[in-house]
């Protein structure tokens, strides 16, 4: 007779173990079945000493077991102890090969041939148990491994790492310290990896630490040798070891054999679940990564909750109190569920989210209940959040000169997308038209949402297109005038340096830049000379059809750029339908003619633009430039920076390139789309209303931003050593005087392993009067400018 339990839990990862802990605590008969001989194999296989994070921070942990950020070893130790003290019934080396039956009578077949029966089954098997394996002949060689515990274990070996994801890169880089490492990439770039890791591997390849085979596929493996299919035939790599990091996928075959259905045939698809984590097979529950929740804390909470659900307790999710608190400001005293249902009904953009995704999204959002006439945000604010109207409505004042020209938006509509896309200042002021209920979502949640729910991006783009045309061309454009353009308009993206069109090409449309910026150049005396820099919010390509000629200049993306392409004939129709726009287009055309002629005579000014664009000024919103004819190298800018930022300067005056006596020091450019923000685990990097990109106190010192910044302006610092007070310096000459921190810091470097955090320029956010570096420059050599200001004709003329 098979053993029978109320709950059988498959897998002892964070969710399975947490479920076991709760079941033990509740005293119900249970068993946790673990394939290996230890708990939580995924975490067990992390690199030795890896720091494990407990994100999302805001989510409370609800489990019978503890979990705090810490090293892999500490966390595994805690779990092991608590599993024992709670009396969780774990059976190791018990791989489940089949699950059959139904609620009340499931039968679980083990590899050993034993069978266990249970009323309910919780599947917490995650994805890591199903690593993609090397499929080529010889892939079963002993030297092929799919994990790396301790990179320092290997020394002086030839190692081939296959894969281009984060795990592969982290392994390759760590191994390259003591070994000769090859990385085998199926594609021609590491697009799948985080930016930080990508930079890391590219730098290692560049410096020769790691040899990379691009567009290479493993063909066969024999002991000590890996044969690759590459673009021009075959390549052989001598290796003592192969580490294949090919990712993990849902063990679909097994899951489907249990009767669970997947919504699509996409290999990345996950089974659909009820809010109680129950699959389409009653009594069979799925939690953790396999349910789409790869974070440890989420998985532990789900483990706890699923046991409660099985016991019939309809407990509220762990984030319930947080949401309750959030919704408190709403009138009507509605329950969290009611509010969420209401939001889902009223905001079409959020309908594609699963209940769990929506809750997570709302946790990050801010609730606003403005009264009639309250300003939501002002034109030229530098905020980049996104607003959705749940109840009420708002007026968008689209004409800078006349607040009465407005577009009214209502329930279910959204606004703020133009700033989000362009990464620039708000292009309009928005005022509540009536007492309303609005959701404000930070940039990061929106980007996540856009990346995970395709419908959101589509819906946003449709609306954004119309608004961008009105905002950037003319607020007076009527729907009828825009319609024909819209029918064929499309979003076209260009990579940094890519040519949009060439001088001499036939006219094929007008490009309105909605993100990024471009340079316009012309061939003068056999050389390409830049004659203008055009930022987001402006169009290029109109000259050809207005003058009925071929393209008279080449336009290239200065940085990654998104444009709205419009058909020339339709653009012409639109101009003809709107006298204001016509006048505006003509005015800009004439200005361009004048500027073009003037720049013709000053190739130097064009060279400055070219140089600065190469320095990333194109994506800057505010950049520090030093005029070398004025700079006396007193370093007062650096000293001021250090003195106003706890003794550590965020600026290196001397470093950085110079052209035509304009020096670009190593200092933050406050990019439109900050690279540093892209991958910040605690979401510690923000943009202030005036555009300053800054790091708050929640920085954990992971170094992602430092790696992601293409300009090297972020560094990790443990803070400056304490220096003696001013009087000790004045009277006894102790310590450094004002501004003289550099030597002192070097001499008194702390070696106590104090935690380091990322530091960067915050443009003296909290100091009245603005950037200290500029204010402390005695000769006027240092200025902070936006590229538009600096690229203005008069400024360049003065230099050219």
């Amino acid at each position: 007779m098979a053993e029978h339990y109320q709950v059988a839990i498959v897998g002892s990862g964070p969710c399975g173990m947490s479920a076991g802990g709760r079941a033990a605590e509740k005293g119900i008969s249970h068993i946790v079945l673990e394939r290996t001989d230890h708990l939580s194999d995924t975490i067990f296989k992390y690199q030795k000493g890896k720091h494990v994070m407990a994100t999302p921070d805001i989510l409370p942990l609800r489990s019978s077991m503890d979990f705090e950020p810490g090293t892999r070893e500490a966390i595994l130790g805690t779990w092991e102890r608590q599993t024992q003290s709670l009396g969780v019934n774990v059976r190791f080396n018990a791989e489940v090969t089949a699950i059959s039956g139904q609620k009340g009578g499931f039968a679980l077949k083990l590899k050993s041939g034993e069978e266990i029966t249970a009323d309910n089954v919780v599947l917490g098997i995650g994805l890591q148990g199903n690593l993609r394996r090397l499929a080529c002949p010889g892939g079963d060689w002993d030297g092929v491994q799919y994990q790396l515990d301790d990179p320092d274990e290997y020394e002086g070996e030839n190692i081939a790492v296959i894969g281009a994801g984060d795990a592969a890169i982290e392994n390759a880089v760590a191994l390259s310290r003591q070994n000769n490492v090859y990385i085998i990439n199926r594609r021609d770039e590491c697009a799948r990896a985080k930016d930080g890791n990508r930079n890391l591997i590219e730098a290692a390849i560049e410096s020769g630490d790691i040899t990379c085979y691009y567009n290479a596929d493993p063909k066969s493996v024999s002991p000590g040798k890996l044969t690759l299919t590459v673009a021009d035939g075959e390549a052989e790599v001598e290796c003592d070891r192969i580490i294949a990091r090919l990712g993990a996928i849902a063990p679909r075959k097994f899951v489907e054999s249990c009767g669970i259905e997947f919504p699509s045939s996409d290999p990345a698809a996950l089974p659909e679940l009820s809010p109680q984590y129950e699959s389409n097979v009653p009594g069979l529950y799925i939690v953790g990564a396999l349910a789409g929740f790869p974070l440890i804390k989420q998985a532990m909470n789900q483990g706890y909750e699923v046991v409660e659900f099985i016991l019939g307790n309809q407990i509220k999710p762990a984030d319930e109190p947080l949401l309750e608190e959030k919704f408190k400001t709403l009138p009507g005293n509605r329950s969290v569920d009611e509010v969420i249902t209401h939001i889902r009904e009223n905001v079409p953009l959020l309908r594609g989210l699963t209940p769990l995704q929506l809750r997570e999204f709302l946790l990050d959002a801010t609730i606003h209940v403005p009264g009639k006439g309250d300003v939501i945000f002002e034109r030229n604010d530098y905020t980049n959040s996104f607003f959705m109207i749940v109840d009420g409505g708002a007026d968008i004042q689209i004409d800078e000169k006349d607040p009465n020209v407005k577009v009214t938006v209502g329930v279910g509509d959204f606004f703020g997308e133009i700033g989000l896309i362009a990464g620039r200042r708000r292009s309009a002021t928005v005022v509540a038209a009536e007492p309303s209920f609005m959701l404000e979502s930070p940039r990061r949640s929106m980007i996540k949402l856009i990346n995970s729910v395709e419908a959101v991006e589509r819906a946003m783009n449709e609306v954004a297109l119309v608004r961008q045309l009105r905002t950037y061309l003319s607020p007076h454009l009527t729907d009828e005038a825009i319609q024909p353009v819209l029918e064929t308009a499309e979003v076209r993206s260009f990579k940094s340096g890519q040519t949009m069109f060439k001088e001499g090409d036939a006219d094929e449309g007008v490009y309105l830049i909605r993100k990024g910026s471009v340079t316009v150049s012309r061939r003068i005396g056999g050389k390409d000379i830049v004659i203008a820099y055009v930022p987001a919010g402006h169009y290029v390509g109109e000259m050809a059809f207005l003058t009925r000629a071929r393209r008279n200049a080449t336009v290239r993306a200065a940085i990654n750029t998104e444009t709205i392409w419009m058909d020339s004939d339709r653009f012409r129709q639109m101009i003809e339908a709107s006298p204001q726009l016509r006048g505006e287009v003509e005015r800009r055309l004439l200005t361009r003619f004048i500027e073009g002629e003037s720049m013709h005579a000053r190739p130097d000014a064009g060279n400055i633009i070219q140089f600065l664009v190469e320095q990333g000024v194109g994506e800057a919103t505010d950049i520090l430039l030093i005029d070398e004819t004025l700079c006396v190298a007193c370093d007062n800018c650096e000293k001021a920076c250090a003195e106003t930022h706890g003794g550590v300067s965020r600026l290196n005056r001397e470093a950085g390139p110079t052209f035509n006596r304009i020096h670009v020091p190593t200092s933050c450019r406050h990019c439109e789309h900050p690279h540093c923000m892209a991958d910040c685990p605690p979401d510690a990097i923000h943009r202030a209303v005036d555009g300053e990109v800054y790091i708050d106190d929640s920085c954990i010192g992971c170094g992602n931003c430092e790696r992601n910044c293409p300009y090297g302006v972020i560094h990790l610092s443990a803070g400056a050593p304490k220096k003696p007070g001013l009087f000790s310096w004045m009277l006894f000459g102790l310590g450094p005087g004002p501004g003289e921190n550099k030597k002192w810091n070097k001499a008194h470097k702390k070696d106590d392993g104090a935690p380091k955090v990322a530091v960067k320029c915050d443009m003296c956010l909290n100091i009245p009067g603005g950037a200290s570096c500029v204010r402390a420059c005695p000769t006027g050599a240092a200025i902070r400018v936006s590229p538009e200001e600096f690229f203005s004709l008069s400024e360049l003329a003065a230099r050219g």
Binding site: E628, T629, L630, A633, T658, R661, G769, C777
Partner: protein
């Protein structure tokens, strides 16, 4: 945008200084005290007070410069004012003296003030002239980590010289070990090193290489080119050091003289009141 301290805010501080000086001159011309113009008349006291206040305010620049992240004005405001008002002080103090000079503490104060202003005038000249030259000398690329660059070239020299006769290797070794940058104040200010070991090595190797043949000649040619590049770089670095020294040297006079001036000025004022 970038504006030098001279034209800063459309010559605001020049205008203030000129106004101040004009008022002082006009008052000096129309005022005729008993016994001729002197520091003891009402105008003399007024100009003296104004001059003393100006000196204290000008000296305060040294403090203001080190107070970071405070104040409404830019440091460039202060610097521009410092230049123009400092120059105007020369006229105001002279008018204050009524051209009465002698061998006493009063004239000592005046002389010190003139020295401070003169050193400051040189400083202004240096600040206007040398940054541009320094930038030109550096060229497009930053000199970067010059030590690493020089060290790299030295390594290349060793590499090539290994296969060449000992006498050449010795010269290369000498060039590596005995090439100095910086040094004494005079050396820095001169921007040259007549005994530069690298220059010597280049000169002598070149001479010796004339008689080399085959592989030795090949290697020597390569060596001469690397050494020439190194000597050129060293020359530019020395020039850079020279400009920096010329930019900084005057402060070693300007500041101590200012401190001395403040002391003597205090004595000048106290003695005047004692005689009162």
């Amino acid at each position: 945008m970038h504006t030098s301290i001279l034209v800063f805010r459309n010559f605001r501080y020049l205008k203030i200084a000129v106004g101040l000086v004009l008022v002082a001159i006009v008052a000096y011309v129309i005022h005729s005290p008993l016994g001729g113009p002197n520091g003891g008349s009402w105008l003399g006291y007024t100009l003296g007070t104004l001059g003393a206040l100006l000196i204290v305010w000008l000296a305060w620049f040294g403090v203001r410069k080190r107070r970071y992240g405070v104040g409404k004005l830019l440091l460039e405001d202060w610097a521009s004012g410092h230049v123009y008002l400092g120059l105007s002080l020369l006229i105001i103090a002279t008018l204050h003296s009524g051209f009465q000079f002698g061998i006493n503490v009063h004239t000592l104060a005046y002389a010190l003030m003139v020295l401070v202003i003169a050193s400051g005038a040189y400083g202004l000249y240096a600040y206007l002239r040398y940054p541009g030259l320094r930038s030109l000398n550096r060229g497009e690329g930053a000199l970067g980590d010059v030590w690493a660059l020089v060290a790299g070239m030295s390594r290349d020299c060793y590499e090539i010289a290994r296969d060449l006769p000992d006498e050449v290797y010795k010269l290369v070794e000498d060039a590596d070990k005995n090439t100095a940058l910086g040094g004494s104040v005079w050396r820095q200010l001169s921007g040259r090193d007549p005994n530069c070991a690298s220059t010597r090595a280049l000169r002598e190797i070149r001479k010796k290489a004339e008689s080399y043949t085959d592989r030795d000649a090949d290697a020597a040619r390569r060596l001469v080119r690397v050494l020439a590049r190194k000597v050129e770089l060293l020359g530019r670095i020395r020039k850079d050091i020279q400009y920096k020294a010329l930019l900084d040297i005057w402060l070693y006079f300007h500041v101590p003289l200012t401190v001395a001036l403040l002391g003597v000025l205090a004595i000048h004022i106290i003695t005047v009141f004692l005689y009162w």
